[in-house]
C-alpha cells in the first residue's frame, strides 16, 4: 500500500459520522459572507446595502488574479457590510444578507440528472470555474483557476484528487464520494481537460473501503482516471505528501510548487464543485460540512449554504453538549478553535468539531527530554524541537537556515511530544516572522 515516505503519525480516526447520509440543512435567518474566505486578495463587494439578491447572485468580485468571487447562497436583502469575527479570531469585513424566501437565479440547473457531455474548450472550462468562485475545498481555499493556469515554463502531467480526508473525525468527503461518485468523476474529467492532461489519480485512504470500491467500479467508465488506495497516515492530505504518496515525487523546498513536479492537486469537494459550476451553471455557494464530536447527540453531514452560522449546524446535530470544552472549525489536527459559534460557514469549512472538556485540555508543559519523536514524526524532514527553540529565542536567521518556511503546520510534532510542548505554536510564530523578513528582503 502506498503512502508518503517521511514522518507521519496516526491519530485515532474517530470517524463518528461516516454512516450518516448527507442531509440538507434549512436556510439561516441571516447569512454572513466574509470577504476573505480564500488565499489571496480579499473579494470586493459589488452590492450595496438594501440591494435585493437571489440565490447564486454574485455579491463580491475577485480582488485580483489570486482571488475568488463570492456568490450569495440565499435570496433576500443586503442588510449591511460590516465586520465580523471569523475563524481567525480577528474582525474581517463581511456582507450580511437578511434571508427572504428561496428564489434562485435563472440559468442554474437544479435537477439531479447527471450531465456527462462537455464540448467546452479547456480555456472555457477554466473561465467558467473562475466565474463560479471555485476555490480549494480542503481548507486552504486556494483559488482553483489559478492552479489550472500553470506558470510559464512548467507543464502539468497529471491531476491528483485529494480524497484522503486524513483529519480525524471529518467525513464530508467520504460521504460525498458515496453519494455523488459519478458527478465527482465527471468533475475530475473536466479538471483533466482544463489542465490538458490525460492522467488523473484519486487518492483515498484505505479506512474508507466502501468509497474505494464504489469509485473503482464507476471509474472504469472514465478513461485515464485511476483510484489509488493509500495507507492511513496523517498528514497524507497535505498537498506535497499526497503527491509523494501517489506518484512518488517530492516537491522541492519553497519556492517550488506542486506544478514543478507536474502535478495539479485538487480536493474531491473541489472536483464536485467544478462539476456543478461547469455542467449545472451553479456557482459555489453550498458545501458539505461534518458536525461531529464524542458528546454530540447526532454526528451528521450537512449540505449547508455558505454564510450559515455554525450554531445552526450544531443545533441540527442535537445542540451544544453540556460538557463542551471547545468548538473547532475543521478537524482536530489543523482546525481552529472558534471564538464564538456564530462564525459563518465559508468555502473552506469542512467540519465543526465539538470537543468535550476532558479532550480539549492540553497536558502540562514539561521540559524537552530530547527524545527526537518530533523529528521522526515531521513529514517535511524538519527538526521541530530546534525550530521552536529558535522561534522562542527570536533567532530568525538561523530558523530560516533550518528551513522553517517548509513547515506545513500539520501539528504532527506537537501531537507526538511526550512533554506536551507547544512546538507548533512557536513554529507558527517563527514561520510567519521569517516569511515577513523574506518578503521585506525581496521587496528591496
Amino acid at each position: 500500500m502506498k503512502t508518503f515516505r517521511i514522518g507521519g503519525v496516526h491519530p485515532a480516526e474517530n470517524k463518528l459520522s461516516a454512516a450518516s447520509a448527507i442531509e440538507t440543512l434549512g436556510l439561516p435567518k441571516q447569512a454572513v459572507f466574509p470577504l476573505s474566505q480564500h488565499i489571496g486578495a480579499p473579494a470586493v463587494p459589488c452590492v450595496a446595502k438594501g440591494d435585493v439578491v437571489k440565490v447564486g447572485t454574485k455579491i463580491a468580485d475577485a480582488g485580483g488574479f489570486v482571488s475568488a468571487a463570492i456568490f450569495s447562497s440565499v435570496s433576500g436583502k443586503v442588510a449591511k457590510i460590516d465586520s465580523v469575527i471569523d475563524a481567525s479570531g480577528y474582525r474581517k469585513p463581511a456582507i450580511f444578507i437578511d434571508v427572504d424566501g428561496d428564489e434562485w437565479e435563472e440559468g442554474i440547473d437544479r435537477s439531479e440528472t447527471l450531465v456527462k457531455e462537455c464540448s467546452l474548450k479547456p480555456e472555457e472550462i477554466v473561465e467558467k470555474i473562475k466565474n463560479a468562485g471555485v476555490v480549494g475545498m480542503g481548507g486552504a481555499c486556494f483559488p482553483t483557476h489559478v492552479k489550472l493556469c500553470p506558470p510559464p515554463g512548467s507543464k502539468a502531467e497529471c491531476v491528483i484528487i485529494n480524497a484522503v480526508e486524513c483529519e480525524p473525525y471529518l467525513t464530508a468527503d467520504h460521504r460525498l464520494m458515496l453519494e455523488k461518485p459519478e458527478e465527482i468523476l465527471v468533475g475530475v474529467s473536466l479538471l483533466m481537460k482544463a489542465a490538458k492532461v490525460d492522467k488523473g489519480y484519486i487518492g483515498i485512504e484505505n479506512n474508507k473501503p466502501d468509497a474505494i470500491k464504489l469509485m473503482q467500479e464507476k471509474a472504469a467508465a472514465y478513461p485515464g482516471i485511476e483510484i489509488v488506495p493509500l495507507k492511513v497516515k496523517y498528514p497524507q492530505g497535505g498537498e506535497k505528501q499526497l503527491i509523494d504518496a501517489v506518484i512518488s515525487r517530492q516537491v522541492p523546498a519553497p519556492p517550488a510548487i506542486p506544478i514543478s513536479v507536474g502535478a495539479v492537486v485538487q480536493n474531491v469537494g473541489t472536483a464536485y464543485a467544478v462539476y456543478e459550476a461547469v455542467m449545472k451553471n451553479k456557482p459555489l455557494f453550498e458545501r458539505i460540512v461534518t458536525v461531529t464530536g464524542k458528546s454530540v447527540t447526532k454526528p451528521s453531514n450537512f449540505l449547508t449554504r455558505m454564510g450559515t452560522p455554525m450554531s445552526q449546524l450544531i443545533e441540527a446535530a442535537g445542540g451544544l453538549p453540556a460538557d463542551t470544552g471547545k468548538v473547532i472549525g475543521g478537524g482536530p489536527m489543523m482546525g481552529k478553535a472558534l471564538m464564538n459559534i456564530e462564525v459563518p460557514i465559508c468555502k473552506g469549512s469542512s467540519g465543526v468539531l465539538i470537543m468535550n472538556d476532558k479532550e480539549a485540555r492540553r497536558g502540562e508543559v514539561r521540559p524537552c527530554i530530547r527524545c527526537a519523536k518530533c523529528v521522526s514524526a515531521c513529514p517535511m524532514g524538519l527538526e521541530p524541537f530546534l525550530l521552536s527553540t529558535l522561534s522562542d529565542h527570536s533567532e530568525w536567521e538561523r530558523a530560516e537556515k533550518e528551513d522553517i518556511v517548509s513547515c506545513i503546520e500539520c501539528g504532527s510534532c506537537q501531537f507526538t511530544c511526550p512533554s506536551n510542548r507547544p512546538l507548533l505554536d512557536m513554529i507558527r510564530l517563527g514561520k510567519s516572522t521569517v516569511m515577513g523578513i523574506i518578503r521585506a528582503r525581496s521587496a528591496k
Binding site: R5, I6, P11, A12, K240, D244, S248, R249, Q250, V251, P252, A253, A256, K326, I328, G330, P332, M333, M334, G335, K336, A337, L353, M355, E359, A360, R362, G363, R366, P367, I369, R370, C371, A372, K373, V375, S376, C378, P379, M380, G381, L382, E383, F385, L386, E402, S406, E409, G411, S412, Q414, F415, T416, C417, P418, S419, N420, P422, L424, D425
Partner: protein, 321 residues
C-alpha cells in the same frame, strides 16, 4: 490552538517503559548475586530519588517535585547495574550524589544534562574507588554481600591476553555461557539474554529506535572480529567481546538515553559506530579492561556537534524517480 489532540504519550510512559524493560536483567541479577544485588539496587534507587527530591526542593527551590516522572528511579537502577554487588552502601550514596547532583541537577535537571547521569556516577566511582569497583563477586553466593568471594572477570582475562598472557583466553567461559549470564561482572551487565529481552520490549513499545544499539553492536562485532582474525591468541573472539562487560547494557540502555544521544537517525548511527569503535580501542589498547562507559561518555560530549551537522533528510531532497 491546533493540534487539538495528542497521542497521550508522556515522559512517565517512556521512563517507566525503560524501567519495565530493565526488569528481566534485574531479576537475573537477583538470581545471580543474591542479597548483594538487592542491597545495591535498593540503595542506589533510594539515594537517587532522595537527592533529586532534596536538590529540587532545597537548592533549586522549585515548587513542583520531579521524582514521580521516573527519571531518577531509572538513573538509580542504571547506576546500580553498573556497580559490583559487593560495593558498600556509602560508596553507592556518593555515586548517587554525583550522578544526580553533578550529572543532572547542576545543568538544570531533566532534559538539560549533557552526560548520562548514571554514567557520570559510575565513572566517578571507577576513578575514585578503583579497588572496590573492580572486584567482582563470584555468582551464586546468595546470602553474601560485602564478604562475597571475588574472582577475575572475563574482561580481565581478555586484557591479560592482550598484555601477553598466552593462556588467558583459554580460561574464558564459552560464548553461550556468557550470553546466558554465567560470567561475573557488574550487577546488570552479566546476562545478555535478559538485556536483549529489554531491547525487544522497548522497540515494540517504540520507546527507542534500533539505530543506536544495532550500530554499536555491529561495529564492535566487526572491529573485534577483524582483530581476532589477525591474531586469535591475543585478541578474543568478537562474540566474547559482545557478551562480556557492559557492552549490552551500554548499547541498549545507556547510549540510548534520550537526553544525551543525537536527534536524527543519521546522527544516531554515527554516534553508535563511534561508541563501538572507541569501546574496542579502549578494551584492546587502553589501560582499562572495560571501555564501554568511557566510549559513551566521550560520544555524549560529541552529541551537540552531531546534532549541529546531522540534519534529517528534508522533504524534496529525494531525487525524482
Amino acid at each position: 490552538m491546533s493540534p487539538h489532540v495528542h497521542n497521550n504519550d508522556t515522559i512517565e510512559r517512556n521512563m517507566y517503559g525503560v524501567i519495565i524493560a530493565l526488569i528481566p536483567a534485574l531479576l537475573w541479577s537477583f538470581y545471580a548475586f543474591g542479597l548483594g544485588s538487592v542491597v545495591v539496587t535498593l540503595a542506589s534507587v533510594c539515594a537517587c530519588v532522595f537527592f533529586e527530591w532534596a536538590i529540587t526542593k532545597f537548592i533549586l527551590k522549585r515548587e513542583t517535585s520531579t521524582i514521580t516522572d521516573g527519571s531518577a528511579i531509572l538513573t538509580g537502577i542504571l547506576l546500580a547495574f553498573n556497580l559490583p554487588s559487593n560495593l558498600p552502601v556509602w560508596i553507592i550514596i556518593i555515586g548517587a550524589l554525583v550522578a544526580i547532583g553533578i550529572g543532572k541537577m547542576t545543568f538544570g535537571g531533566l532534559g538539560c544534562n549533557p552526560f548520562n547521569p548514571a554514567l557520570v556516577g559510575r565513572i566517578f566511582l571507577l576513578i575514585s574507588f578503583p579497588v572496590q569497583m573492580t572486584s567482582w563477586p563470584v555468582q551464586g553466593q546468595w546470602g553474601a554481600y560485602l564478604d562475597a568471594e571475588t574472582a577475575a572477570t572475563p574482561l580481565a582475562l581478555m586484557k591479560a591476553a592482550v598484555k601477553g598472557d598466552a593462556s588467558a583466553l583459554d580460561k574464558l567461559p564459552s560464548a553461550w555461557e556468557m550470553f546466558m549470564g554465567a560470567d561475573y561482572g557488574c550487577i546488570g551487565e552479566v546476562s545478555a539474554l535478559a538485556l536483549l529481552l529489554g531491547l525487544a520490549f522497548m522497540l515494540w513499545k517504540k520507546i527507542i529506535t534500533w539505530h543506536i544499539p544495532v550500530s554499536i553492536l555491529a561495529t564492535i562485532f566487526v572491529f573485534a572480529g577483524v582483530m581476532h582474525l589477525i591474531d586469535p591468541t591475543v585478541y578474543a573472539s568478537p562474540m566474547a567481546h559482545l557478551f562480556t562487560g557492559g557492552v549490552m547494557l551500554g548499547a541498549i540502555f545507556m547510549a540510548t538515553d534520550y537526553v544525551t544521544s543525537p536527534m536524527t537517525h543519521k546522527g544516531q548511527l554515527i554516534f553508535g559506530v563511534a561508541i563501538g569503535f572507541l569501546t574496542v580501542v579502549i578494551r584492546l589498547f587502553g589501560a582499562y579492561p572495560e571501555g564501554m562507559s568511557f566510549a559513551i561518555f566521550i560520544m555524549n560530549a560529541f552529541t551537540p556537534l552531531i546534532n549541529t551537522y546531522c540534519k534529517p533528510k528534508r522533504f524534496g531532497e529525494v531525487v525524482k524517480k
